[in-house]
C-alpha cells in the first residue's frame, strides 16, 4: 500500500531534480550574485568580491542603455506577438480547409524555418538584406527604387530583424493550431452550415471560440519567448546600429560576457525574470473560462 503512493513521486523526481538544478538554483545564484560587484577578477578569486546590496539595481535604473533595451524589447513584443499569433492562426485555418497533398507539403514547408539553425538563417538573410549586394535591394533597383538600408537604419533594422523572427516563429505555432483545429468536432460545423452560416461566420463564432485554449497557449509562450528575444538581432546586427535592436537579453549578454560585469548582468536578469513572471501571471488571470458547447 505505501509503495503504491511512493511510485508517482519516483516518476516525477528525475524531472524535478533537473528543473531544480538547472532552473531554480541558477535563479537563486543570480539573486545572490546580483547583490555583489562580481566581475572576472572576482570570479577568479572570491576575496575580490564585495557585497553592495541594491547598488546594481540602482545603477540599472540610471543606465540609459538599460531603458533603451527595455523599450526595444517592449516594441518587439508589441509587434511580434500579435503578428505571430494572427499569422499562424490564419495559415493554420487555410491549411486545414484543404486536406490534399499540397496542404501536407506546405505544412512541412512552413515548419522548416523553425528547425533550421539560426546561424545558417542569419547568413542567408544577412545577404538578402545587404545594402549594396543584397537580393532585396537588387529587386528594388530593377523597379527603380533606391537602396534601402535594411539593417543600418535604426527604425527599419528593428522591423527587418523582427520579420526574420516572425518568419521563424510561425512554424511551430501553425502545427499547434492545426492540432487544436483537428480537435473541433465536425458536427458543430455541420450544424452551423445547416443553420445557414457561411464560412467566415462559422470560423468567427464556432471555430475561434473553441480554439480559445490554443490561442491562449500560443500567446503566452510567444510572449515569454519574445521578452527574451536574442537570436535574430544578435546574429544579424549584433544589437543593431548603435543599440537600435538591442533587446534586454542582448544587453545582459554584453554586460555579462563582453564587459564581464557578472553582478550587474545578474541584477538585470532578475529584473527581466520579474517582468516575464508578472506578465505571464496577468495573462493567466485575465483568461476567461474555456468555451464549452
Amino acid at each position: 500500500m505505501r509503495r503504491a503512493t511512493l511510485v508517482p513521486y519516483l516518476f516525477v523526481t528525475p524531472a524535478m531534480l533537473l528543473l531544480l538544478a538547472f532552473g531554480v538554483l541558477p535563479i537563486g545564484v543570480a539573486a545572490v550574485v546580483s547583490t555583489t560587484d562580481m566581475n572576472i577578477s572576482g570570479l577568479a578569486n572570491w576575496s575580490n568580491v564585495e557585497f553592495i546590496g541594491i547598488g546594481n539595481y540602482v545603477a540599472l535604473a540610471g543606465d540609459p542603455d538599460f531603458w533603451r533595451a527595455l523599450g526595444n524589447t517592449g516594441l518587439f513584443v508589441a509587434v511580434g506577438v500579435p503578428a505571430i499569433v494572427i499569422l499562424s492562426l490564419a495559415v493554420a485555418l487555410l491549411l486545414e480547409r484543404s486536406g490534399g497533398r499540397l496542404a501536407r507539403a506546405l505544412r512541412s514547408f512552413y515548419f522548416v524555418p523553425a528547425v533550421t539553425g539560426i546561424v545558417a538563417i542569419s547568413l542567408v538573410w544577412g545577404y538578402l538584406y545587404n545594402t549594396q549586394f543584397g537580393l532585396f535591394n537588387y529587386l528594388l533597383s530593377l523597379v527603380g527604387i533606391g537602396q534601402v538600408q535594411w539593417l543600418s537604419d535604426p527604425w527599419l533594422a528593428k522591423f527587418s530583424v523582427a520579420l526574420v523572427a516572425i518568419w521563424r516563429g510561425t512554424g511551430l505555432n501553425i502545427i499547434i493550431f492545426l492540432a487544436a483545429l483537428q480537435g473541433i468536432p465536425r458536427e458543430y460545423r455541420e450544424a452551423a452550415a445547416l443553420d445557414g452560416a457561411g464560412e467566415w461566420r462559422t470560423t468567427r463564432s464556432i471555430v475561434l471560440p473553441l480554439l480559445g485554449f490554443a490561442i491562449f497557449f500560443v500567446t503566452v509562450t510567444t510572449t515569454i519567448a519574445w521578452l527574451q528575444f536574442f537570436d535574430e538581432p544578435f546574429v544579424l546586427t549584433d544589437g543593431g546600429p548603435l543599440g537600435a535592436t538591442t533587446s534586454m537579453s542582448i544587453f545582459l549578454y554584453k554586460e555579462g560576457f563582453r564587459l564581464n560585469q557578472f553582478g550587474y548582468a545578474s541584477a538585470g536578469s532578475l529584473v527581466l525574470f520579474a517582468i516575464i513572471a508578472i506578465i505571464t501571471v496577468v495573462q493567466l488571470r485575465l483568461r476567461r473560462r474555456d468555451v464549452e458547447y
Binding site: 572576472i40 549594396q132 535594411w150 546586427t237
Partner: protein
Amino acid sequence: MKRSFTRTLAAVAAVGLAAGLAACSTGGGDGEADGPLTVWVMGDSSANFEQLVAPFTEETGQEVEVVAIPWDSIDERLTTAVASGSGPDLMQIGLSKLRTFADAGTLLSLDDHLADHPGLAADNFPDGVAEATQVGGATVSVPWVSDTRVLFYRSDILEENGIDAPPASWDELREVAATLAERGEGQYGYYIPQWDSPLPVIMTWDFGGDIIDADGNVDFDTPEFADAVDLYTGLYADGSVPTNSDFDQTQGFISGIAPMLVSGPYLARSIADAAPELDGKWNVAMVPGADEKTSLFAGSNMGIWHNTDQVDASLDLLEYLSSVEAQLSWFEINGELPAVSAALEDSSLQSDPLVAVYSQQLADSKVLPLVPNWDGQTGSDLLAALNAIVLTGADRAATLAELSAKTEGTSIG
C-alpha cells in the same frame, strides 16, 4: 521480496562508491605531471597547429593536444575556465584581450624562467613589442604571431582616375577618396569599417599624438585626436564613405565600389581567394601618414595557464614555438606573420612583395594601449561616439565630452 530489493540496492551502491573512489585518485605525486600538453589555439580548426607541433612531439616525445576556439566564443571559454579553475597549459591570446586574461589571474609570470629559456627573451622580438605586452611590469606572455594594418588600394581604378601612386598622407587620401566617390551613384572612395576601433587610434598616431598620456591614462582631449576626428568625420561629410553597417569590405574592394581601405593581411588572402583575376590590379602600401606612418601592431601572444601542473614542458613548447624554424613553418602552413625578428627578416619571407610591405609596416607599429577591456569597453565607447557623430548627426563637442567622461580613469596601469 523486500529483503532482496534492499540487498540489490546495497550491492549497487557499494560498486558505485568503489568506482567513484577509484576515479578520484590522481597520478603523479612528484613535481611535474605527465600527459599531453593542452594548447588553446584561436580559429576554427586545430589541424594546422597540430601539423606545426608534430616535429616537437617527434623530438621530445611530449604529446600535444590542440583545442581550436572560435574567436567569438573566447569570452565564454575564458569565463568558464576561470570559474572552474582548470584551463589549458598554453593558450593563444589576442593582444586586445591580453589585459583581461592577465587581470583574471590566468597567466603564469614568466620573469623567473626567462633566464633558463633564452628563446623567450625580449630581444628576440621587434623593438618594444615584448615590453609593450607586459602587464603591470611583469612578462606574462610571449609574442606568437604578428598582424598589422596597411593601405589596400585598387591601382587600376586609381590610374583610371588619374592617380598614379597611392596617397602619401591622410589629407591626400581624403582628396583621392573624394575624386573616386565622384565616379557615380553608389560609388565610394574609401571604406571605414564601423567596427574598426583601432582605425581612429592609427589616425591619431599618424598625426603625431597618442590616446594615452604620459601617466598611462586614456586621454581623448588632445589636438592630435581632434585632427583624427576631423579626418574621420570629414571622410563621411565628403560622401566618400558608405554609411551602412553591413558593407562587405571584400566584395566592395573586388567590385570597385570602395577601392581603398586600411586592413590586415587576412584581407589579401580573401581577395586572392575570391578574385584571382584581380591579380596585379591591386596593391598594398604603408598607412598614409604624413610625418608618421605608424600603424597597429596586432596579433597574438602565447601564455601559460597560471596553475598548470606541467610548467617545464609548457616552457619547452613555448620556446619551440618561438624558434625561427617554427615561426617560418607557421607562416607557410597558416599564413600568419611571425613575431620573431629573425624570422621576419628571413629572405624566404621578404621575397613576397606583400610581405615586404607588411614587415616594413611592422617595423613602425604600436600596440593598442593595454587598458582593462579595449574590445568591450574603451574601444567600443570610442566607436559608439564616432559613429553617433557621423551616422546620427550627434553634436560633436557634446559626444566627445561624454566619451572623455566615460573613459576617465581608464589606464594601462
